[in-house]
């Protein structure tokens, strides 16, 4: 595509993806209930839409792919050939191919992939079905010849139809009393042409002979006998040669012939229309007449459209010829010959059986040059220029009506919005109203018997560029900042007032006035606060999408994996409409995929094994989401064999993850939690254990990186549940604001365990690391002032504060100069050069306008890693019962 239209392409991608997002889960449902008409219809429509869009874009392979699947769906829908397991496999593959094509075209701007193998498979499915449907002809044809024969058949059909049409015209021409030689000759020549093309020599010679013998140049009209002979001979020759009857159908083409019966009414309407406007065509003047030519043009124009619509292609063709001739003579009137037009007129009369009569009636009519037809046409679709105004005023009325009903302004806005929505008014930039409800999985999974995936819920959504939302969020953040500083001003004002009041610095009247103002300000400040909070919340919600976007991919995945490992697994999804920040959702995809794969691969037993244990053969894997405060909890729960406690302990101790003496004191859940330990995943024969080891440490790390937590619950023999607790959003965190020197820093509250005051005598040293003892635990102390330079903080403070934080597996105390308070902060990404600097996750602007850096705890605490190793040794010594406390060892 030379003119690769980016915007159009984006629309196309969205269209295809949306359809696939519906199609794929529907296909899964369909696999469970292959005959379900409504799902079949939906699937059909998805492919139909993709086909339409692909054809529009000129992506023929994608279009054909969609077309082939659409065919399969249609056959299944019509009950001709139900979809087999094999069909499903191929169609699923095809879905993947659509996605490959999107990538391919994105990169190359055209289709470069070779899908012939897939096409063959799809065709084989279709043919396989036609065999079932009892089409022995198709079966016997050898593969290669089949296509050719098909083509020939098509040609033959075209030929027959054309001959029939020409013959019918000839017959109806011959029905008229006066038949011009030229009309017949031109029809015969047409017949020669098509016959010659098909190579029917016998027929060809008959036609040629008839033309010469019966239509000599000397005559201008044919007599009855000649006409009869022509008709008879051609009919006979056609039967000999082609083996089919040529019938005198009262229509123009064969295909119309079939329709003519049911279209009788329409046909009459057409004739009436012809009677109305066709007069100029009958009144061919001997000498050229400008007015006549124009009237003809008008008449032809209108007749052509109707004929087009009626599919009277021959009529259209003749009218077009007339039009052309007219154009010719209009450009040079000297060339006008009435005879030319009379010939065409004769041809026209011959096309439809009703026309001779009409033309006869024209003979009695006076031709008024003032083009009378114009006024007579009833269903004449003229646009009344006023009609547009009518619509406008109708819309206005509509709005006013609504106002009346709802009594005021709100009515107006709601209707206006409504109109805006429906018109997809995209004038204000790239707001694009997408109409597909974005919820891919409404309640469908809960009641799979009845529902198809896209329910009839017609939730309207607006698709907005994420960047815009981000800008909006930034603006909101500014607003939050302004609000905070306003609050500070208010406090200052209040203080000033108390001073004035106490010191009696102002007269009472003015003092009262000041108090009133102050009251107003503080009222407004709190109102502002409420609105800003709502606004902030609202904008945050825009960034959120239902988790169905994330869950949507899993049914297919579970299907594929379970087929591969020969297990029978049903995936039950609930809470798919729970909203979650889009960015977080993206981060969640991989970890969740991992967990689910593990559950199917290792958690759920084979059908035989399940049977042995008295469980239903079909395993159930449930995936659910729900919101709990500022968190979304996602659970992946299977009814498989559960975690094997002993195996985990064995593996963990062999890896040195737990000291042997500690084993007995470990709780069940602590043991289970071990599967997330770093290194555990490196165990080779994981599936010998409960199989839950593969890369789970990575999963945990990823979840924790977005501020979430992972938990596992398991009962041996009953199943395993993994719980993910994910913050609703990444963009706003509740932060503990601390001071390091003059610099404000933000520590995400979710990571803060406690804060306390310490003095330098509480600090010990080990191998260069500072440590403190807290609640019988020894923790590393990280002085932020020593990590981040340039804060102006003194490093040798006698007394300062410690913030005990947990980042993943690691715990540490951060030394800060002061605690400021808690506040929700909007995270702004740092500019690139700062991104290279580990330790900061972003920045935010505080109420007083100053900038605070948000700590990336993972990176900060990492610095204490060396200590962890030491602590391990200390714990071991403690455990060995040396009788010495950790502190003593360290001193």
């Amino acid at each position: 595509m030379a003119d690769f239209d980016k915007e159009m392409w984006q629309d196309f991608v969205v269209e295809v993806q949306e359809n696939l997002e519906e199609f794929e889960p529907n296909l899964l449902l369909l696999e469970q209930q292959p005959g379900d008409q409504s799902i079949l219809n939906d699937c059909f429509r998805n492919m139909h839409s993709i086909k339409g869009a692909a054809n529009y874009m000129g992506f023929s392979k994608m279009g054909e792919l969609a077309h082939k699947i659409e065919n399969l769906m249609d056959m299944a829908r019509q009950g001709e050939a139900p979809l087999t397991q094999q069909s499903f496999d191929v169609i699923f593959q095809a879905v993947d191919w659509f996605r490959k094509f999107l990538e391919d075209i994105e990169k190359n701007h055209k289709e470069t992939l070779d899908v012939s193998a897939l096409f063959e498979e799809l065709d084989a499915l279709k043919d396989g079905k036609s065999k079932v449907a009892g089409d022995p002809g198709a079966v016997e044809e050898p593969e290669q010849g089949a296509a050719e024969t098909e083509e020939d058949d098509e040609l033959l059909t075209i030929f027959q139809e054309e001959m029939k049409s020409l013959y019918s015209q000839l017959a109806s021409v011959c029905n008229a009393s006066e038949v011009s030689r030229q009309t017949v000759v031109s029809l015969l020549e047409d017949m020669e042409r098509v016959t010659n093309y098909m190579g029917h020599e016998g027929l060809l010679s008959v036609i040629s002979a008839l033309k010469e013998k019966e239509c000599p140049d000397s005559v201008s009209t044919l007599d009855e006998e000649a006409k009869e002979r022509i008709l008879k001979d051609i009919k006979a020759a056609f039967k000999d040669e082609v083996g089919l009857e040529l019938e005198e159908e009262p229509s123009v083409t064969a295909s119309e012939g079939m329709e003519i019966e049911e279209d009788k009414e329409l046909y009459t309407i057409f004739l009436d229309f012809f009677r109305e406007v066709g007069l100029p065509l009958a009144k061919i003047p001997e000498d050229f007449d400008q007015q006549w030519a124009q009237d003809c043009q008008d008449a032809i124009e209108r007749l052509k459209t109707s004929a087009n619509y009626m599919d009277y292609m021959e009529v259209v063709r003749i009218l077009e010829e007339w039009e052309e001739r007219l154009a010719e003579v209009l450009s040079s009137t000297d060339n006008y010959e009435a005879e030319t037009f009379r010939t065409i007129c004769h041809q026209l009369i011959g096309t439809l059986p009703g026309l001779p009569e009409i033309f006869k009636s024209f003979e009695d009519q006076e031709y008024h040059k003032e083009a009378e037809g114009e006024s007579g046409a009833e269903d004449d679709p003229v646009i009344d220029p006023g009609s547009l105004d009518v619509i406008d005023s109708a819309i206005d009325n509509l709005i006013i009506d609504a106002e009346d009903e709802t009594g005021g302004l709100s009515g107006r806005t709601s209707v206006a919005q409504d109109l805006n929505e429906t018109t997809e008014s995209s004038q204000e930039a790239d707001f694009e109203v997408s109409d597909q409800g974005k919820t891919v999985f409404p309640q469908a999974q809960k009641t799979p018997e009845t529902a198809s995936v896209r329910g009839s819920s017609s939730s309207r959504t607006v698709r907005v560029n994420l960047e815009k939302v981000e800008h909006l969020l930034e603006d909101v953040a500014e607003l939050v900042v302004l609000r905070s500083s306003l609050q500070k001003d208010k406090t200052d004002l209040e203080n000033l007032y108390s001073v004035c009041a106490n010191e009696r610095m102002l007269p009472t009247a003015q003092l009262r006035q000041l108090k009133e103002i102050l009251l107003g300000v503080s009222e407004k400040v709190s109102a502002l606060e409420r609105v800003v909070n709502q606004l902030q919340d609202g904008v945050m919600r825009i960034r959120m999408l239902p988790v169905s976007h994330l869950f949507g991919r899993f049914p297919r995945m579970v299907r594929d994996i379970s087929r591969k490992v020969h297990k029978d697994v049903e995936l039950v999804i609930s809470g798919a409409d729970t909203a979650l920040d889009k960015q977080i959702m993206e981060q969640l995809a991989d970890p969740l995929q991992h967990i689910i794969r593990n559950a199917v691969d290792h958690g759920i037993e084979t059908p035989e094994e399940r049977k042995r244990h008295g469980k239903p053969q079909k395993g159930t894997l449930s995936l659910s989401a729900s919101q709990e405060g500022n968190f979304v909890v996602i659970t992946v729960s299977d009814d498989g064999k559960g975690l094997d406690r002993d195996a985990i302990i064995k593996k963990a101790s062999s890896l040195g993850l737990i000291p042997p003496e500690k084993i007995s004191s470990l709780t069940e859940s602590q043991i289970h939690q071990l599967i997330f330990a770093p290194g555990f995943s490196t165990a080779e024969t994981v599936s010998d254990l409960s199989g839950r080891g593969v890369g789970l440490d990575v999963v945990k790390k990823n979840i924790e990186r977005i501020g979430g937590t992972v938990m596992v619950r398991s009962v041996k023999g009953k199943g395993t549940t993994i719980l993910l607790r994910i913050p609703l959003t990444l963009a706003i965190v509740r932060g503990l604001i601390v001071k390091v020197g003059h610099q404000s820093m933000v520590i995400p509250v979710s990571n803060v365990f406690e804060t306390f005051r310490i003095s330098s005598k509480d600090i010990s040293q080990i191998e260069g690391y500072e440590i403190i003892s807290r609640r019988q635990e020894t923790l590393p102390l990280i002085r932020l002032s020593s990590i981040f330079r340039g804060t102006g903080a003194r490093e040798d403070n006698e007394k300062f504060f410690a913030v005990r934080v947990r980042a993943g597996e690691l715990e540490a105390c951060l030394g800060v100069d002061a605690l400021v308070g808690q506040q929700e902060v909007v995270i702004k990404p740092l500019s690139d050069y700062l991104m290279d600097q580990p330790g900061f996750a972003g920045a935010t602007i505080l109420g007083d306008g100053s900038i605070a850096l948000i700590l990336d705890l993972g990176a900060v605490v990492e610095k204490s890693k060396g200590f962890i190793f030491k602590r391990q040794q200390i714990l071991e010594q403690q455990a060995l019962g040396s009788g010495v406390g950790a502190e003593n060892v360290l001193h």
Partner: protein, 120 residues
């Protein structure tokens, strides 16, 4: 300039059609993604022309056209679909529509519109 209602279940086609029509100086007063919506919008807006898809969820294009014609026999409806089923096409014509064009033949749209509606 015509006031046009586009009824099509594909957002892609709606957008394209809207673009084409706008470029040609028409006013797409509304778009609908299924027959039900199409009918409602027709009633509300009374456009000069409806460009109608056939395959749609729920109320399809044929049903929608029938409803519109019942409501307003003068309604001008132009079908635009990939459907090749002759039954569907003749049905569409029986409903008194202006025509039935294939989606990829969208240029014909203007031929028909020009001839059928713009002139008279």
């Amino acid at each position: 300039m015509l006031k046009i209602l586009v009824v099509d279940d594909s957002s892609f086609m709606r957008k394209r059609l809207k673009g084409l029509l706008k470029e040609a100086g028409h006013d797409v007063v509304a778009t609908a993604r299924d027959g039900k919506e199409g009918f409602e919008l027709y009633r509300k807006l009374r456009p000069d022309l409806v460009i109608m898809d056939v395959t749609m969820r729920g109320v399809d294009g044929i049903q929608c056209a029938r409803m519109i014609k019942e409501e307003d026999p003068e309604a001008r409806i132009l079908f635009m679909s990939l459907v090749k089923d002759p039954n569907v096409i003749s049905e569409a014509k029986n409903l008194g529509s202006l025509g039935f064009i294939e989606k990829k033949d969208h240029h014909r749209l203007f031929d028909i519109m020009d001839k059928e509606i713009m002139q008279g």
